[in-house]
Amino acid sequence: MITFQGVSKVFRSKEHITKAVDQVTLTVNKGDIYGVIGFSGAGKSTLLRLVNLLETPTEGKVIINSQEISSLSQKELRQLRRRIGMIFQNFNLFNSRTVYGNIAYPLKLAGASKQEVKARVTEMLQFVGLEDKADHYPEQLSGGQKQRVGIARALATSPDILICDEATSALDPETTGEILKLLKKVNEELNITIMLITHEMHVIRSICDRVAVMENGTVIEEGSVFELFAHPKTQTTKNFINVVQNDKLSPKLLALLRANYPGQLVRLIFKGGVTGEPVLSQFAKLFNIDFNIIYGSINELQGQLFGSLIVEIKGDEQEIQRALESLKKKVEVREVINHES
């Protein structure tokens, strides 16, 4: 659906040259919700703007529906942009237009008749749940409502693709949840491919199918969200995951744990099917050891379960080693250290 082939974007000013996007190659499949995560300045915002040519690539190709877009004429480009909806962190609603007027604007640009506009706006208002706000001005709306209008406006012309520029970053956690749910609905009910950028891992975890991690303009890791959480390769990815899994231990906490639990501390990572098995009690029976569960968390990722446990193992040193060897065949065993993920 959207393919980047060795795409770079360089910004030149008198003082310096900035390579915002550096040799990015990735593909967003039709029907996916594709997330790009990175810290600010990683180049993800520029990458997103290359999709609808708000930024033109310095080198490489951006291909949408097997069409290389930088070769389009101005007119063809405007046609293309109507097939790609966009929503923004700061909503970017027209303050001088009502909610109705905001949603109607892209339809008017596309040359829709008055009846068509009315029918479509009504439909979109219903979809985002703002039927009663048609005559309000943006200033009268809450952040969440503004983003709903933004989504309705972006989808008015029935695009195939929706691109989201930090769409939930200006919202509180509860509203973020509502907007993410709405985006999921957009993806599932309207079958719209979504590419979003964010700096929040929970956004990726809640709705994305695939994810790219960006740093200094390059994609440092890419894959399914489950794979990324299960086997993070880079420290940056691990850091992002830590934020949502909340299982990074501070040195102080670790010292306290060690004082209270003198046995061997390990972290066990359960993925997919094994989360349903009573692994610990099985091993306690198989080996002459005891498990003391200190901390545990379980998350759902792309319909698969992902669990993390910190346990203290008590028993004979050799028996523990044998048990751990055997455990490693079932689950991922990590040492518990403070800088570990």
Partner: protein, 220 residues
């Protein structure tokens, strides 16, 4: 010699009419030119939808030449052009020409300033929807800037009343002229007082109208 108010009030009414005529026509014409120049200034800025360094430089240069010239000197300087275009340099109609030119460039700056204060994200959103530069200008830039723009025009209207007084002294008529000839040169304080009161009332009306209209469009 003091004026005879039993007949002089007619002159006051006539002069008020001339002032209003000068200000109103100037406002209409300079709004049209000023908004056009202001829009052009804005869209040709660096990084904007119709970036054009040459046009931007030329317009900025023109504005910076005309604006610092004191209006009374400007008025006299361009009188050959006034004669060329209006056929005469004397009278209310002839005063509208130099006033329009001077005011257009002031309005152009006000328009540009109001446009600059529009969130660039809103323009980006319109672009992302596939709007052409013209559609952005008329569908986004003007409506978004209209509220503060009307306040700016109100401010300029008040300035135009001041301009009209100077235009009066070179044959444009109006309240300024009346105050100068009868009030100032003949030391008649009553004429001074009456014209000042009328001018204050005119300014108040203009400001009030501007506030009311702009409130209709201010949606922020």
């Amino acid at each position: 010699m003091k004026v005879d108010w039993s007949t002089f009030w007619l002159r006051v009414v006539e002069a008020t009419g001339q002032t209003i005529t000068m200000v109103l026509f100037t406002l209409i014409f300079s709004s049209i030119f000023g908004v056009l120049i202001g829009l052009l200034l804005f869209v040709t800025r660096k990084g904007n939808i119709l970036e054009n360094r040459f046009v931007a430089m030329l317009l900025n240069f023109a504005i910076n030449i005309i604006r610092p010239i004191p209006f009374i000197i400007f008025l006299v300087t361009i009188s050959p052009f006034t004669r060329l275009i209006m056929g005469t340099t004397i009278g209310t109609a002839a005063a509208v020409f130099p006033m329009t030119i001077a005011a257009s460039f002031v309005i152009a700056r006000v328009v540009e300033n109001n446009l600059v204060s529009i969130d660039p994200g809103i323009i980006e959103a319109a672009k992302a929807m596939g709007a052409s530069p013209l559609q952005i200008i008329f569908g986004v830039l003007i409506p978004e800037a209209l509220g503060p723009l009307i306040l700016g025009l109100t401010f300029i209207t008040v300035g135009l009343i001041d301009f009209s007084a100077m235009a009066g002294t070179v044959g444009g008529g109006g309240l300024g002229d009346l105050a100068m000839t009868y009030g100032y040169q003949r030391f008649d304080a009553s004429v001074m007082l009456v014209t000042i009161v009328i001018l204050i009332v005119l300014v108040q009306i203009a400001q009030f109208a501007g506030n009311v209209i702009s409130r209709k469009f201010l949606r922020r």
